[in-house]
Amino acid sequence: MKTVMLKIVRNYVLLFGCLVAWSGIAASATISGPAPNFSLKSLSGENIKLSELTGNVVLINFWASWCGPCRQEMPFLNAIHNKYEALGFTVLGVNVEEQVANAKSFIADRPVDFPILIDSNNTVSRLYEVIAMPTTVVIDRDGQLRFLHRGYQAGDEVEYRKMVKKLVRE
C-alpha cells in the first residue's frame, strides 16, 4: 500500500510541476523589435500595407466572429480608434477566419470605424505568433513592436488606452 501511495503522490507532484512550467504565458507583456511587415486586403476592398502606416501608432487586433471576448472588446477598440485617430493612430482589426462571409456579416451588424483586414490564410497570424484569441499588438510611430496583450477581460481596454495614449505622445 505504501508503494501505491508514493506513486500517487509522485505522479501528482509531476502534474504540479508541469503546470508551474506551463505558466510562462502572461496576459500582458512589453515586447520589442521591428513589427513584421504585411499587406492584407480590407473588407472595403483596398490593400493595406503596414509599412505605409509608419509615422502612426498602430494597434493590431486579431479577432474572429466566433470568439466571445473578441466581440466584447470591439466597441472599446472603436472608441479608442475614434478618440486618437486625429493624433496619428489607427486600429487594424485582423480577422483570422477562413470564411470571409463571417466577418462581413458580423461587421454589417456591428459596424466599426477602423479597417477590417482579412487574414484567411493565417499568414499574418503566424507571422505575429498569435497563440491566444484575441491578441492585441501595439506598434509605435517607428514601426517597432511595443506592447502585446493576449485574451480580453473586462477592464483590459483601460490598458490598451494607456498604451496608445503613451505612444501617441512620443
Partner: protein, 76 residues
C-alpha cells in the same frame, strides 16, 4: 477489464498525458472556428441532457462517467 481500474495502470495513462506537457499546440487558436461552433459542444443544452441522464440512471443499473466539458473557442 478489472485491469483498467487498477490504480497503477490508470496513473500510467495520466503520466503519458503529462509527458506531453511541453508539446506545442497543433491547433492554433485562430483555427478553432469549427470547435467553437455550438454544435460541437459536448453538451449544448444542459437542461435537456441532465433530464435524459436522470431517466437512464433511474432505470439502468449503470451510473457515472456521463459528463465531459472542453473544446470550444479556447479564448482568453
Amino acid at each position: 477489464m478489472a485491469m483498467i481500474f487498477r490504480p497503477g495502470y490508470f496513473l500510467i495513462a495520466v503520466i503519458i498525458l503529462l509527458a506531453s506537457c511541453s508539446a506545442t499546440p497543433w491547433v492554433q487558436p485562430y483555427e478553432r472556428a469549427n470547435l467553437a461552433d455550438p454544435i460541437m459542444s459536448f453538451d449544448r443544452d444542459p437542461i435537456a441532457t441532465s433530464y435524459m441522464g436522470h431517466v437512464y440512471d433511474s432505470r439502468e443499473g449503470a451510473r457515472g462517467a456521463g459528463v465531459a466539458s472542453g473544446g470550444g473557442c479556447g479564448c482568453n
